[in-house]
Amino acid sequence: MCKTINEHKFAFILCTNNDIYLQECFHYLNQLIVPDNYEMDILTIYDSASMTSGYNEGMSSTDAKYKIYMHQDVFIINRHFLFDILSIFQLDSSIGMIGMAGYPVVSANGIMWHSKRIGADPMYGSDSNAYSHADYRQYRYSLSDGIADAALIDGCIMVTSADLQWDDKLLKDWDFYDAFQSMNFLLHGYRIVVPTQKLPWFVHDDGRILSMWNYNKYRKIFMEKYAPYLGKSYSDIRKHA
């Protein structure tokens, strides 16, 4: 059945297994300013079998054009986030996905962060004092701050304006869904972009440690499925769309 898309709606889609994180995540989502004539919905998927199946469930249960797939331990601190992603999508209709941190090149070993990073400042939380006395209440992003194209984006926040199925056949856990979905968007001809963030738009409260227990299994599947694109940039990959 064909669903009518609501062009004036945002849906946040979260897979969750922890109410403490979820409530704090809601605290920040509820502080976001919603543009006039737009509405915002929050969909939480409890005890999903995998990130991809949870996201597919969320995707099919909303009519929102703009979907924000995010982790329960991500807190959006840019209160104008919805305005900002809207302005980026309106810039170019071929932009299908926006990330907060990304990589213009797919690294040869499949490990995202072995490639040059763009977007969210990797120094955040590293004791650099880079944002000391920053005024988060007054901060506004402007398109003139810039966007940059990416091949892959980090899964902590993935914003889409088009619906493509998440690969829940191959991905049965919580790893690599971001890299697979990025490739999916690029190979469907969409641009993936990352805004320049003069102040951080979010905090990812993962304890400054990434869980790596199942990572290698999916890294190998990724390297096999996307072997021709390893070491390639977003522009090389989009040529194959």
Binding site: I20, Y21, E24, H27, Q31, F75, I77, R79, A108, N109, I111, H114, Y124, G125, D127, S128, N129, A130, Y131, S132, H133, A134, Y136, R137, P200, V203, H204, D205, D206, G207, R208, I209, S211, M212, W213, Y215, N216, R219, G231
Partner: protein, 234 residues
């Protein structure tokens, strides 16, 4: 980022690292379960010293490298470090209101969240809620310091000052001096200097108060007058 002689070297190194993680996985999960049981027992019986039995798991990194791959185990280590200082300086421990592993982890997370609200200062209401929570738990300066150093925080000026403002009625004068001294070492803005000088005057340490006040680059008339009267006193 590391540099590699060849692509093959990069691929081999990644493979070696992942093989190690795979090999450690089940052992690490079992150990983590045992640690939780030990913490349940110690907190249930208020036997805080016995918690230090867990320290070797963290402080012998060659024997237990798998702990680097878990935020939970990292947080247990942080809690042990906090407790060490709290017992040494005879403070009510941060974990003393918790009866088991899950309640201390919940308290730890809520403390991070509240501190972050103070750091970001996005709304007065959010800050007031944060202050209410933080003053309801035994948040020592050691807990506040370890959490701020080991979790995601960046805006230390805001965090330290706003936290100081909310904890001021609950911390001792020496705690307050210690906290502001840490802040002063990072950022010496005027509010901090004035507060430190005032605290030192409260404990009659006029020479330290004078020392801090003279660090103000362009003192107002009132401050200049205070500096000169302190100078006379000394």
């Amino acid at each position: 980022m590391a540099t590699y002689q060849s692509l093959n070297e990069l691929l081999q190194e990644a493979e070696r690292d992942f093989q190690k993680i795979d090999a450690d996985k089940s052992y690490c999960f079992d150990l983590y379960k045992n640690m939780q049981q030990h913490i349940d027992l110690c907190l249930g019986n208020k036997q805080y010293e016995a918690l230090f039995d867990l320290l070797p798991y963290f402080e012998e990194p060659d024997s237990y490298p798998q702990f680097r791959n878990s935020a939970e185990t990292k947080r247990i280590h942080i809690l042990l470090n906090i407790l060490k200082l709290e017992l040494k300086y005879e403070k009510t421990p941060f974990l003393s209101t918790a009866n088991d592993y899950s309640s201390i982890m919940e308290q730890y997370l809520l403390a991070i969240f509240a501190m972050r609200r103070l750091e970001l200062a996005l709304s007065e209401e959010a800050m007031a809620e944060a202050a209410t929570y933080l003053t309801s738990i035994p948040l020592t300066i050691y807990a506040a310091m370890f959490i701020s150093q080991n979790e995601y925080f960046e805006n230390y000026g805001n965090l330290f000052w706003n936290l100081y403002t909310c904890m001021k009625p609950f911390w001792t004068i020496s705690d307050k001096i210690q906290w502001l001294t840490w802040l002063f070492e990072r950022e010496s803005f005027q509010q901090v200097i004035l507060e430190l000088a005032s605290l030192y005057m409260e404990v009659h340490n006029y020479s330290r108060a004078y020392q801090y006040l003279t660090a103000i680059p362009s003192p107002t008339q009132d401050i200049a007058a205070l500096i000169s009267s302190l100078k006379e006193l000394l």
